[in-house]
C-alpha cells in the first residue's frame, strides 16, 4: 500500500457527540478507520458502542460532529443512502425479514442497495445471492423461511445480507453473542475471510479472544468516551480499560 492510500481514511469520525435528552451517549469521539483495516470496538455495556455504529450507519442522526466516508460528508444522509455508498451492518439482535425466505432476504439487498443495471437480469442477481449464501455455508437454507433458522444461521444470514449490498465497510455488531465456542470460531473465520483489501470490518464484540484474534487495532469506549486505542495487546494491558471492565 502506498503512503497516500493509507493516509486517506475510509471512515473519519470527528468530534461526534450524541445525546439522548440529558444523557450523553457519545462524547466528542474522533477516530479514523483505514481502508482494509480490521478494527475491534470494545467497551462495557452501555459504553456507546452500538450508538456509535448507529451514527455511522445512519440509524441515528447526530447533532454535533461529522462522519466522513471515502472523503464524502455523510452526516446528514439517511441510512439507505449510506448503505448504497458502501456501509453495511449486522444487528446485535438479528433483524431478519421474517415473511421472506433466506434468499429473498438477500434479494432485498441486491434489488435496492446495488446500483441497478437493467442488463443484469433477475436470474443473474439470484445467482449472485446464491453464491454469497454458499460462501457463508447457507446454500442449503436458501428456500427456508427466515423464521426457521437457528441462532448461528441467523447471524450468518445477517452477514450475508450485509455482504449482498457490496459494502466497503462492514460493521458487525456482536455477531457472536450467545453462540457456542465452536460457532464463535465459525463466525470469526467467516469475518476473517470477508475482511481484506476491499472490505474494511468494524467488529463489536464482548468475547475478548475473538477480538484479540481478529483486530489489527482496538478501540475501547467507556461512558461515551474513547479511553484507549491501539494494538490489541496494548489496549488490553491498559490500566483504564481493565478498570472499566472490572471496576475499581
Amino acid at each position: 500500500m502506498t503512503p497516500s492510500e493509507t493516509d486517506t481514511p475510509l471512515l473519519r469520525i470527528s468530534a461526534l457527540t450524541k445525546r439522548f435528552g440529558g444523557f450523553t451517549a457519545l462524547d466528542n469521539v474522533s477516530v479514523d478507520i483505514r481502508p482494509g483495516e480490521r478494527f475491534g470496538l470494545i467497551g462495557p455495556n452501555g459504553s456507546g458502542k452500538t450508538t456509535l455504529i448507529n451514527c455511522i450507519s445512519g440509524a441515528f442522526r447526530t447533532e454535533v460532529g461529522t462522519v466522513t466516508f471515502r472523503g464524502e460528508d455523510i452526516t446528514q444522509m439517511p441510512a439507505h443512502v449510506r448503505t448504497r455508498r458502501g456501509i453495511a451492518r449486522s444487528f446485535q439482535i438479528p433483524r431478519p425479514f421474517r415473511s421472506m425466505t433466506v434468499l429473498e432476504n438477500l434479494m432485498v439487498a441486491l434489488d435496492f442497495a446495488v446500483a441497478s443495471d437493467p442488463l443484469v437480469s433477475a436470474a443473474h442477481r439470484r445467482e449472485t445471492a446464491m453464491s454469497i449464501l454458499s460462501g457463508m455455508g447457507l446454500a442449503s437454507k436458501a428456500d427456508a423461511s427466515a423464521t426457521t433458522l437457528s441462532q448461528v444461521e441467523l447471524r450468518k444470514m445477517e452477514l450475508a445480507r450485509a455482504m449482498a449490498t457490496r459494502p466497503k465497510l462492514l460493521i458487525s455488531d456482536e455477531a457472536m453473542a450467545g453462540l457456542s465456542s465452536s460457532e464463535v470460531d465459525e463466525v470469526l473465520d467467516l469475518l476473517m475471510s470477508l475482511a481484506g483489501h476491499d472490505i474494511t470490518v468494524i467488529m463489536i464484540e464482548h468475547i475478548m479472544q475473538a477480538v484479540m484474534r481478529f483486530s489489527e487495532r482496538v478501540m475501547c469506549l467507556d461512558a461515551g468516551k474513547i479511553i484507549a486505542i491501539g494494538k490489541p495487546s496494548e489496549v488490553m494491558a491498559n490500566q483504564r480499560v481493565q478498570e472499566a471492565y472490572l471496576g475499581t
Binding site: F97, M107, V108, A113
Partner: protein
Amino acid sequence: MKRNSILFWTGAALFLAVIALMPYFVRNEYPFFAGYVILQFIALAVAWSILGGHAGYVNFGTSAFFGMGVYTAVFLFKAAGAPLAVQIAAAAAVGALMGFALGLLTLRMQGIFFSIATIALTIVIETSITNWRYVGGAAGIQLQRPPVTPPFEGYVQMLVFVQALLVVLAVAISRYIQNSWIGRGLQALRDDELAAECTGVPTLRLKVLACVISGALMSAAGAPAAMYLQYADPSSAFNLNYSVSALAMSLIGGTAHWLGPVVGAILLGSTQQLLTVTISSEVNVLVLGVMLVLFVVGAPEGLIGLLRKIRRQRKEGKG
C-alpha cells in the same frame, strides 16, 4: 409471468364487458344498486391493502379519504357543474395530497400510534366539513343528477360501470405493486423498518408512495357516491363503517395477495347486502364483527392464507 398478465387482463376485460352489457339483460334496478355498493367496497378494500397489507401500516382513516372524495365531487358539482370524470379525477388528486401528508406522519408515528392518528384525521376533517355551509354543513346537501351520457340508459347503470373501472384500476395497481420492486421494498419495511433502511430500502419514500396511491384510490372510489345517493351529509360520508369494512374485508380475504381484499370484499359485501334486504341493516354490522372475530381466531392470514396453508399441507402430505 407473461401468461399471468394475459390472463389477468383478459379477466378484467371480460368483467367490464359483463358489467357494460348487464343493463340489456337485467331489467330490475336492485342488482345495480347492490352491485354498486359491493364494487365500491372492493375498490376501498384493495386501496386499503396497498398501505395496510403491503406496508403493514393500519389505516383507520378510510372514511376520511372516502368522505373527502364525496365532498370534492359535491363541491365541484355545485361550484362548476363539473362532469363525473372531472369529479373523480379531482377527488383522486385530493386523496393523493392527503395521502402525502399521512405519509409524512409515518416519519414519527408507527404501529398503533399511526392508527390512532388516522382516526383523529377523520374526526378533524369531518368536523371541518360539518361547519362548511357551502357544501351543506351538518344538514347535508341535495344534488340533482345531470342527464345520463349515452350509451348508458340509466345513471345508476353508468355509475356501476364507472365504479367497475375504478376497481380494475385499483386491482391492476395493487397487482403491479405486489410483483414489482415497490412490493418487495414494502414487504421488507413491514417486516423490519430499520433493517430495511440499512439494506438500502428508501423506506420513507416507499411509505409516502404507498400512502399517496392508497389515498388517491380511496378518494376516487368515494367520488361517485355523491351522484349515486344524490345526497351527501358529513355523518354518512365520513361514517366509521367505511374504515372498519375496508379493514375487515382486507383481513378476511388476506393481505398476502392482491386477490385477498377482492375476495373479502365480495364475500362480506354480498353478505351485508343480503342481510340488509332479508333481515335488517343493523344485523349486517353485527355479522361484520362476528366474521372478523372468527377469522382473527381461525384464519389470521385470511382466506388466502388459509388456502396456502391447506395447499402446503397437502404437498407435505404427498411428499
